[in-house]
């Protein structure tokens, strides 16, 4: 007899419920494979989001057995508990339907945290000569591989308790730009991230770091922003 997984998937919006499906076990099966099987073979009305399937686009994050994860790079065998999988939408974001959440508040906060690069050169200028081993570049290097999946945001206790909080991903982005020596909007950005909903609200629980599928350390970046804002305040630039 074919071995199956007992998969519970959240159906509906806020007033929905978990619905069980039997999904055949396959070798090297990912959580995204499981969800796709349900949508293609068992219930075509299941809503979920994915694009690249190789851990680059950051669109397929879901809550799997209580933890936010990127589903395309999570093997079912690694997270299954007693043959069961419980798959829900990401926490801390408005639900649209089933496993799809509205990412707008997440990316709005990137903008609110000054997530845009500000430059003062044109295409006719020479390339900037950034030393790879400079301290600033090393700081930026640690954070630039963020794929914007929202896993850290869903895992963050402070976002849960204080919905205005900018969140780990937006602050991590601000930190990488703060360490981009070509960027000219640093003071403005520090003002944007030092308010009530900014970096000083972080409790350093490190849930973001614990859950980040790219193994980034947003907590470290946020701590860097705290120090940078203090330095700016001491210099009267905040």
């Amino acid at each position: 007899m074919e071995k199956t997984l007992d998969v519970s998937i959240w159906r509906g919006k806020d007033d929905g419920a978990y619905v069980s499906y039997a999904v055949p076990v396959r070798e090297s099966q990912t959580i995204l494979d499981v969800v796709t099987y349900v949508q293609r073979r068992l219930d075509a009305t299941l809503a979920y989001r994915f694009a690249c399937r190789v851990g680059m686009c950051g669109s397929c994050a879901m809550t799997v057995n209580g933890r936010p994860r990127w589903t395309c790079r999570t093997h079912a065998s690694r997270v299954v508990e007693d043959g069961r999988l419980r798959i829900g939408p990401l926490d801390n974001l408005p639900r649209i339907k089933d496993l799809a959440v509205d990412m707008a508040p997440f990316f709005d906060k990137w903008a609110a945290a000054g997530g845009q690069f500000q430059g003062d050169t044109t295409r006719t200028d020479d390339f900037a000569n950034v030393q790879p081993d400079s301290t600033q570049r090393q700081h930026a290097e640690k954070g630039i591989e963020c794929i914007g999946c929202g896993v850290c945001y869903a895992a963050c206790d402070v976002v849960r308790w204080k919905p205005d909080y900018l969140g780990p991903a937006a602050l991590n982005r601000a930190w990488t730009l703060h360490n981009d020596e070509r960027d000219t909007g640093k003071d403005e950005r520090l003002r944007a991230v030092a308010g009530d909903a900014g970096c000083h609200a972080c409790h350093s629980h490190q849930s973001c770091t614990e859950h980040c599928p790219k193994h980034l350390n947003p907590t470290e970046g946020i701590a860097g922003l705290k120090r940078a804002t203090l330095l700016a305040a001491l210099k009267g630039r905040l």
């Binding site: 308790w161 204080k162 308010g195 009530d196 000083h200 804002t229 305040a233």
Partner: protein, 116 residues
């Protein structure tokens, strides 16, 4: 609250935490050492009343508590209660004044018993 005030509050809480880490150890250590054989109120007054070093220590200790606790309380109230920001700031200000007033009153009161 403005970015500048928020940043200074963060710095104040970290600095007061450093002071508290030392002061609490001294405070508890002294208590444990002093009460080994039992200690009466009269004996406490005899030791601390009029003692300038004791007064200076507790003036700093109380100041650190009065800065540190209300900033932490502010975060707790914002995150855990539906209180509006203005109400939170009122509660926090009351907490700061109360801690400073009661703490310094006690310190100066005991010190004053030895100054006549």
């Amino acid at each position: 609250m403005s970015a500048r005030i928020q940043t200074w509050m963060w710095a104040a809480q970290r600095l007061s935490a450093i002071v508290l880490a030392i002061a609490v150890l001294v405070h508890l250590g002294t208590i444990i050492y002093a009460v080994q054989g039992g200690l009466s109120g009269t004996e406490i007054v005899a030791r601390v009343a009029g003692n300038g070093s004791w007064l200076a220590f507790y003036v700093v200790f109380v100041a650190a508590v009065a800065i540190h606790a209300p900033i932490g309380l502010r975060a707790v109230l914002i995150e855990m209660t539906p209180l509006p920001a203005r109400a939170v700031d009122v509660v926090v200000t009351v907490a700061l004044v109360s801690i400073a007033w009661t703490g310094w009153s006690a310190a100066f009161g005991l010190y004053g018993l030895g100054v006549s």
